[in-house]
């Protein structure tokens, strides 16, 4: 058989919309050239131009705002229709909200299914997550923490693989000097667990050691006004710069200038999930910058304590202040962890990560009754 194996990718998140899952799915489909790929996703502003330029076969489902949850229903329906004509050998469901379509395809059209798990969605929709894990031939979890979240839903999936997201290697990672001792946080301001509040509580302590310290906050969201108020309440508003969302260039420019990236993500309360992996830590590592992260959740996989950064109790402002102060004041330590991080990040580049995902997909293909296993490229 000479045709390429067919891969259907169903995802609610895809560029040009921004975010970690968007990047992950896009990088994977771009690299999986051994497959004939079809992507079903939601409409987003600027999508037509993006799809034209990418050359990928993308089918967009109108993302009508008023539909809310109904949007995903529509996405599943369209994906199923697409599968009827595309006849995928493997279906990759990039998010649990697309698992119903993947399950339906598996049952009615045959073929293998692979389900991606990130973290947050498992806490928010544990029953759907359990369904998704039960239905898939293989599940990919982005971290050990994510895999534990899946198992906490009470399901023993057939097969779980840990494959972290990958990281881009920018062309220019040469450090630049900052006018003040600076540390950086990059995250949307919509999840409390990211620990911006704890950094604000740590700032007065940090200032006692580094009086002219500056905290640059990249990212926007509904928590911003509250955080600005909290900084006022603690008398540190003049040490914080909320930049909102910025361009990739500006973000990279701050990554070149900052001494460290700090995001003390904690485990959220109740059944909600925290940091699935924390790709941003590796993105800082790529720039040779050490990180400070919480010693819980996905950060345990993305950060090597004492090698690429410092893991601390993310709920303890004193511990957070202490870790940041060490990186700001101890040049040798910062340089050593920066180097260690840059080296470690090399294992997380996209080509390596997509190779691992590809291997999982090919394995599925070999197990498929429909596919002549001898024809599967090794």
């Amino acid at each position: 058989m000479s045709r390429k194996p067919r891969l259907l990718v169903i995802t609610p998140d895809f560029p040009p919309a921004r975010g970690g899952i968007q990047v992950l799915v896009h990088r994977l489909v771009s690299e999986l050239e051994r497959f004939e790929r079809s992507i079903v996703t939601l409409e987003s502003p600027g999508a037509a131009e993006f799809d034209d330029a990418s050359g990928l076969a993308v089918r967009r489902v109108k993302a009508i705002k008023q539909l809310r949850g109904g949007r995903n229903l529509l996405l599943n329906a369209v994906a199923y229709r697409q599968a009827q004509s595309f006849r995928p050998d493997v279906t990759l469901s990039a998010h649990i909200v697309t698992s119903p379509a993947a399950a339906a395809i598996r049952r009615t059209l045959g073929g293998r299914t692979v389900q991606y798990f990130h973290a947050k969605e498992i806490g928010a929709k544990p029953r759907l997550a359990a369904f998704a894990a039960r239905q898939a031939h293989t599940s990919i979890a982005v971290s050990d923490y994510t895999s534990r979240l899946i198992q906490a839903t009470g399901v023993r999936p057939l097969d779980i693989r840990l494959i972290s997201p990958g990281v881009e290697l920018p062309s220019n990672v040469a450090p630049e000097s900052a006018e003040r001792p600076t540390f950086l946080t990059i995250a949307r301001l919509e999840d409390r667990y990211k620990g911006h509040d704890v950094i604000i509580r740590a700032l007065p302590l940090l200032r006692a050691k580094v009086p002219d310290v500056q905290w640059v906050v990249i990212g926007d969201g509904p928590l911003r006004p509250g955080l600005e108020q909290l900084a006022q309440a603690h008398g540190v508003a003049d040490a914080v710069r909320f930049l909102g969302s910025v361009s990739d260039d500006e973000r990279n420019s701050w990554l070149r200038r900052t001494r460290a990236l700090v995001m003390p993500s904690r485990l959220p309360s109740g059944h909600y999930a925290g940091e699935g992996f924390g790709i941003v830590y590796l993105e800082a590592n790529v720039f040779g910058k050490p990180v400070v992260a919480g010693n819980v959740g996905g950060a345990l996989d993305s950060v090597a304590d004492g090698e690429s950064g410092l893991l601390v109790d993310p709920t303890d402002p004193v511990a957070v202040a202490d870790a940041i102060a060490r990186l700001l004041l101890d040049d040798e330590l910062a340089a050593r962890l920066g180097r260690g991080g840059a080296q470690r990040a090399q294992a997380f580049t996209w080509p390596l990560i997509s190779e691992r995902v590809e291997a999982v997909l090919l394995e599925q293909l070999r197990a498929s009754a429909r596919w002549d296993s001898s024809a599967v490229p090794a």
Binding site: R201, A208, P222, P225, G235
Partner: protein, 638 residues
């Protein structure tokens, strides 16, 4: 006479430590566990402390110094996160010689300087003398749970946990401030940072004060204030409730750490129910709960409290505060307070603390929940009234209020009609809280108070409430209560009621993280439904009650049947006050007008308890201040 059991005192102009000794003796009166004094004769600085031992009973001698003996600390209160702090500091190479939380302060100061306060989660007031830098640092906790009084004169400072201690050491400070008396009558408490005497002030909650020997310069600054971020959030309520629950558990867990038995005060309301449930869940032993009821009046929470206790399987204790007990207890208690306080709930809280004391040394309380999570109905009603008014032309508002009043058969309509008027909202708020006492000033004031400016108490309050553009009415009122009513009334009540009988009341809701979470949430969420939305959503499933049909978790907080007491057990004290009280003799109040009120009240013509109670509380207090003892009512009751 009652005395605060635990406290600190100091002076910058007392080389031998004699004045500080005298102040400590005042704080020491009832034989506490330990005390100590450090004098620095070269500089004239002396600081000292008396201690009620709760942690490291044998090892926590104060004042403490650091590794090299150059930093001395006198501390009053509790640091709930002292264990993790100790670990943090050990990792930084500090060595500890006691298990006492005070020692943590010395090392934190060495590490972070004045910013050490930011590392602390707890209730505290402390003085720190840095011998090397010749600098004194005074600090008070975020919400003002622990008191600190200051007298500043000619570049020198004196301070103490009790106003009385300062007056003892420096009798010339004994001059009442008529403006403070005016404010007391209107509000029912002495608003900070002033005090009832002219030349003593309080260090405001969340403030630091530093004093340099060299220059004698004293500078004061806020290090924390309640956050005020009215944010519309997309987070589901359940997610916020989960976060609040995590923090509440943490707060309860850390507040239960003690080398002595810990109990919970149950009022029957939702606040104490959540506290008790969390304590029961986290305790290895059956927890002890305490509640109080009355033999008169219609406020009784004992049934609700018992139901909660049964459900949580606690070792429940209940007392009835009898009228005989009130007659014996209240006059002496009101007289012996450090500053006058007209909060009627002081009496039951004191009785409950005394009752609990033989069984526990620490009790968890629910103070602050109403102010932080929007529990008081006035927030909702005034906000509703404001919404209606802003939608209507001015000319319609007044008549509408009247119309609602006459047509209102339902309590809700009547309440709303009371709140709709053309007066500014803050005035209406004040009148609601104080039963409109300010309108009685003219009739009741004597010559020493009538000379005061009419609008000052109100305008002070308005200026503290902040700008109208700063958010909704509900938000402004909540914030005002957090910086005013909470520290100066609610927390004074809890601190004094407990300390007078050597019981420490720990307020679970005044946990930093919990308070900051509450402050970051949109007021409309707090105030939706019956208020305290977040706390209600923390109730276990099936317990979340329909607020319209159920009274199970209606707001209750040890309310007291003051009207009945004034007619019964306290009638005699009231009469003695009207005959001999110094507040009348000294020309502060008009005896005839007060007599008329008392007559009407006792003969059931009208309920004047809202006016008579502050007069009685103040009268008893002022009499003691002038050294007059109410022979029949006062005594050493504790």
């Amino acid at each position: 006479m009652f005395r605060v059991m635990c406290g600190i005192a100091g002076s910058t102009d007392d080389p031998q430590g004699t004045a500080v000794e005298a102040m400590l003796a005042t704080l020491h009166h009832r034989g506490p566990d330990d005390g100590g004094l450090h004098t620095d004769p070269g500089t004239g600085v002396s600081i000292g402390a008396r201690r009620l031992a709760i942690l490291d009973i044998d090892g926590g001698h104060q004042p403490l110094c650091g590794e090299d003996g150059s930093v001395w600390v006198a501390f009053n209160g509790e640091i709930y996160n002292h264990e993790p702090l100790r670990e943090d500091l050990r990792r930084r190479g500090h060595t500890f010689s006691t298990g006492c939380d005070t020692e943590v302060l010395v090392h934190l100061y060495e590490e972070f300087g004045d910013a050490l306060v930011h590392a602390l989660e707890g209730m505290f007031a402390f003085a720190l003398w840095d011998e090397r830098r010749q600098r004194l640092l005074l600090a008070r906790d975020r919400f003002g749970e622990k008191p600190l009084f200051i007298h500043e004169h000619a570049g020198e400072l004196m301070f103490a946990s009790e106003l009385t201690a300062l007056l003892e050491a420096k009798p010339q400070l004994r001059a009442l401030d008529p403006a403070a008396i005016d404010a007391f009558f209107v509000l029912g408490y002495v608003p900070g940072p002033g005090t009832i005497v002219r030349d003593v002030r309080q260090l405001a909650p969340g403030h630091l004060l530093s004093w340099e020997r060299e220059s004698g310069v004293c500078s004061e600054r806020a290090w924390w204030s309640p956050p005020d971020g009215p944010v519309k959030l997309r987070e589901p309520v359940e997610m916020l409730a989960a976060e609040a629950e995590r923090l509440l558990h943490e707060s309860v867990r850390t507040r239960m750490i003690a080398d002595v038995p810990v109990g919970v005060f149950l009022s029957g309301g939702i606040d104490s129910r959540l506290v008790a449930a969390s304590a029961a869940q986290q305790s290895t032993r059956r927890i002890q709960t305490f509640t109080i009821g009355y033999d008169v009046g219609s406020f009784d929470e004992t049934v609700q409290a018992r139901r909660v206790a049964d459900e949580l399987d606690t070792e429940h204790h209940e007392i009835t505060l009898t009228q005989t007990d009130v007659a014996a207890r209240a006059p002496a208690l009101l007289a012996s307070l450090d500053q006058p306080l007209a909060d009627q709930a002081l009496i039951p809280l004191h009785a409950l603390s005394e009752f609990a004391r033989p069984r526990v040394t620490v009790a968890l309380g629910g103070e602050g929940a109403d102010e932080l999570f929007g529990g008081y109905p006035r927030y909702r009603w005034l906000e509703r009234a404001e919404r209606i008014e802003s939608a209507l032309p001015r000319a319609v508002v007044g008549p509408l209020g009247e119309l609602l009043r006459y047509s209102g058969r339902w309590p809700a309509t009547a309440r709303l009609s009371d709140r709709i008027s053309q007066a500014p909202v803050l005035e209406r708020h004040l009148d609601w809280v104080t039963a409109g006492r300010r309108h009685h000033r003219k009739a009741l004031y004597g010559p020493r108070l009538t000379v005061l400016d009419d609008g000052r108490v109100l305008s002070d309050l308005v200026s503290r409430a902040g700008n109208a553009e700063d958010g909704s009415i509900g938000r402004r009122l909540m914030r005002l209560d957090q910086i005013d009513y909470l520290p100066d009334d609610v927390l004074v009540k809890a601190d004094r009621a407990g300390m007078l009988v050597s019981l420490e009341i720990r307020s679970v809701y005044l946990h930093r993280g919990l308070a900051e979470l509450a402050g970051s949430i949109d007021t409309s969420l707090h105030l939706s439904g019956q208020g305290k939305t977040l706390l209600h959503s923390m109730l276990p499933k099936g317990m979340a009650v329909n607020s319209r049909t159920s009274t199970r978790y209606r707001k209750t907080a040890f309310r007291a049947p003051a009207a009945e007491w004034l007619r019964g057990p306290l009638a005699a004290a009231l009469h003695r006050q009207l005959e001999h009280g110094m507040i009348f003799k000294e020309g502060y109040f008009n005896r005839e007008a007060a007599r008329e009120l008392a007559r009407e009240h006792i003969s059931l013509v009208r309920d004047h308890s809202d006016l008579l109670w502050p007069l009685l509380a103040l009268g008893l207090w002022v009499d003691r201040f002038f050294g007059v003892v109410d022979v029949q009512g006062a005594g050493d009751v504790a």
